[in-house]
Each structure stands twice: as structure tokens, then as C-alpha cells.
């Protein structure tokens, strides 16, 4: 079971990697801001799977922190982009 969960975490991480390649290349700013969201959901899934696979229950707390901070960073990005993109906003 632990091996399977580790493999699943690796698979999710691979999809995150593929998504990151696309997002970080993406032409518009909105694409880049999505990177935080992608890592938010994919990274959290990988963390939860790692928590079970490695028997490190504290990783669930890291996932909780990641959820909060990913949302926080996304809001800051949108605000930062809005402030400088639409000058004077």
C-alpha cells in the first residue's frame, strides 16, 4: 500500500510538472498566476499521499498550510498584477 501511494504521489507530481511547463510558458499573466493554483491542488494531493505512504502525519499540516498560502499568494498576484497592469487602479 505504501509503495502504491508513493507511486500515486509520483504520478500526480508528474502531471503537475507537465502542467507547470505549459503554464510557465503561457503568454498571458493569468496563465502564470495559475501556477500557484496548480501547485495548490496538485501539491496538496502529493503531500497527502506522501503523508500516508511515509507515515508522516505532520505532512497533512503542511498540506493545510499549503492550501492557505497558495490561495493567499494567488490573491496577492492578482492584486499585484491589477495594480501595475491597469495603471492607476
Amino acid at each position: 500500500m505504501a509503495d502504491f501511494l508513493l507511486a500515486a504521489a509520483g504520478f500526480v507530481l508528474a502531471t503537475v510538472a507537465l502542467g507547470l511547463v505549459r503554464i510557465l510558458r503561457g503568454p498571458s499573466e493569468a496563465d502564470r498566476i495559475m501556477a500557484a493554483q496548480l501547485l495548490g491542488s496538485g501539491g496538496i494531493a502529493a503531500l497527502l499521499l506522501l503523508a500516508a505512504a511515509m507515515s508522516v502525519p505532520a505532512a497533512v499540516d503542511v498540506a493545510l498550510t499549503l492550501a492557505l498560502l497558495a490561495a493567499f499568494v494567488s490573491v496577492a498576484f492578482v492584486k499585484g498584477f491589477a495594480r501595475s497592469g491597469a495603471d492607476g487602479a
Partner: protein, 311 residues
């Protein structure tokens, strides 16, 4: 093994992308992604305390700080675009980085088996501290003086940032006024996330005595929630001359120092806790320190005063 290799490659790839990104905004996004992935690496190395700190401050708060800097720099970026550093400077910087990396790698790879560690002594003496988490024991009992000095360093950094204000707005409100659109999405997000975040921050602080966590990670989450409330316009940043704000910033280091000096009276050594009261003293230090660090971090990101204080 394959998982670790893939993770390392991903982290390196994001790091390289961050450096070669043309636009500062894109580089900041890459930096945040890199930090969040590093948190995964720390969990993989079975260091959840470091993972918590990396996710919260290494990636979250520092990312927003860099974002603020990049936004302020946008106006000058286009005019300064012609002044890129020359090829020799870039080669020198690259070689210096490579040398440092090689040096660190050599040191780590040459550790004798088993690597020298103080973990057995830490575990042997932890019962006297009343704590269950060895990392917290190191931070708050064995090396408490480092933590005390760190809180003072944060205060000094804040004073440095405040001193960047122009004379006429000294003591005023940090940063621009963010207007809250009360029917809007931003306000809804803040009203949803901030209470949850405060609960999570307190939870992570409280379990720090027996599980990975502690006052620094909890304080960073609280600071992030305060910053969120400020940038969505839910609350305005307090003017830096307010007495309650300054008391809040000082409370942590002051209590820490006081208990440290009281250690002379109680046991004859600075920052020594008498055994039966160790846990109580540690918690008494941790609560104001957490509030001070949260306030200091939030104000560091808010920046120097830009608006005149009302009188």
C-alpha cells in the same frame, strides 16, 4: 527513488526557469512555485517542521514581498532594460554560484557514516523541558538565545524599513489604501479565508509542543492572513505610530528577555528554565513572541509609511 529523482529534476527545472525568465513578475511566480516544491522535498526528507516554514515564509510571505518589490519596479524596468550586466559579470556570478554549490555538495557527501548528530542527546534531555517535539526543544530550550536574537533581528529589519519613509509621512499608514468592494469576490475571499487561516495558525502553534509546528510557523500564517486582510481592503494597515502596534511588536522580545534575565535569579544562568516550570515558561514566552513575529512580518510586507497619519 524514481520519485525523488523526478522531484529533484522538477525543482531544478523551476529554479532554472525562474532565473532565465524575462519578466520580473514571471520570475516571482517561478520563485513561489519553487518554494512550494521545496516544501515537498523537505517532507520527503522527513523534516515537516522545515517544510511548514518553507511553505509559509520561504514561499508565501517572501513571494508576496518580492511581488511588492516587482510591482514598484515595473515603472523603471522598461527604462532600465538597456543596462543589462555584461557577459563577464554574468560568467563570474555563475562560476561563484557553481563553486559554492560544489563546496556544499562536497561537504555533505563527505559526511562519515553515521553522520555526526546531537539527536541522541536532544532526545535524552527532552523530558526536563516538558516538550514532545525535539525541534521545538532545540528552538525554545537548548538554543533559546538564537530564537531571542532572531526576534530582535526582525524588529531591526522593521525599523530599517520604516526609516525609508519620507519625513512628511513619518508615523503614517504603510502602503496605499486598498479599497474593499463589499459585494466583490476579493472581500468574500478574505472573509472566508482569514478566520480559517487564524484558526489554522493557532492550531499549528499549539501542536508545536508535541508535533511539527511551533510559534514561528503559526506566526507566519497569522501574518499572511493579516496581509490578506490588508490587500483586499478588509482592514487598513495601522499607522506605525500607534502605541498598541508598537507594544505588540515589543511584547515578544521583551517577555523573552525578561524571562531570560529571571533565569539568573532562578537558576543562575541566562535563559535557563527551572525544571518543573519549564513548559509553563516556554508557553509564556511563545505566545507574545508569536504575536510579535506575526505583526513584524505583516508590517515588513506592508512596507514603509506612505500616507500621512490623521491627527
Amino acid at each position: 527513488m524514481a520519485f525523488d529523482t523526478g522531484l529533484v529534476l522538477l525543482v531544478l527545472g523551476v529554479a532554472v526557469w525562474t532565473i532565465v525568465a524575462r519578466d520580473t513578475f514571471a520570475a516571482v511566480v517561478g520563485f513561489v512555485a519553487y518554494g512550494l516544491l521545496l516544501a515537498l522535498v523537505w517532507v520527503r526528507l522527513a523534516a515537516p517542521d522545515v517544510a511548514l516554514t518553507e511553505a509559509a515564509i520561504g514561499s508565501g510571505v517572501t513571494g508576496v514581498l518580492l511581488l511588492g518589490a516587482s510591482t514598484r519596479l515595473r515603472r523603471t524596468e522598461t527604462s532600465g532594460a538597456g543596462e543589462k550586466p555584461g557577459i563577464t559579470l554574468r560568467l563570474a556570478a555563475g562560476m561563484l554560484c557553481a563553486l559554492v554549490s560544489a563546496g556544499v555538495a562536497a561537504i555533505v557527501l563527505k559526511f562519515p557514516e553515521p553522520a555526526p548528530t546531537l539527536a541522541p542527546q536532544t532526545a535524552a534531555n527532552i523530558v526536563a523541558t516538558g516538550l514532545g517535539n525535539p525541534v521545538t526543544a532545540v528552538l525554545m530550550a537548548y538554543r533559546a538565545i538564537d530564537t531571542l536574537l532572531e526576534t530582535v533581528v526582525l524588529l531591526l529589519a522593521l525599523v530599517g524599513i520604516w526609516s525609508l519613509a519620507q519625513d512628511r509621512v513619518w508615523g503614517g499608514f504603510p502602503g496605499p489604501r486598498h479599497h474593499a468592494d463589499l459585494e466583490g469576490v476579493l472581500t468574500f475571499i478574505a472573509q472566508l479565508l482569514v478566520p480559517v487561516g487564524i484558526l489554522v495558525g493557532i492550531h499549528i502553534f499549539w501542536i508545536g509542543s508535541v508535533a511539527p509546528g511551533g510559534e514561528f510557523q503559526g506566526a507566519t500564517i497569522l501574518a499572511a492572513m493579516w496581509i490578506l486582510a490588508m490587500i483586499t481592503g478588509l482592514v487598513d494597515a495601522p499607522p506605525v505610530s500607534r502605541r498598541w502596534l508598537r507594544l505588540m511588536l515589543l511584547a515578544g522580545p521583551a517577555v523573552f528577555l525578561a524571562i531570560g534575565l529571571a533565569g539568573f535569579a532562578m537558576t543562575g544562568a541566562f535563559l535557563a528554565y527551572p525544571a518543573p516550570y519549564a513548559k509553563l515558561l516556554i508557553v509564556t514566552i511563545e505566545v507574545p513572541v508569536m504575536l510579535s513575529i506575526a505583526a513584524a512580518l505583516a508590517l515588513l510586507v506592508a512596507g514603509p509609511p506612505e500616507r500621512r497619519p490623521q491627527r
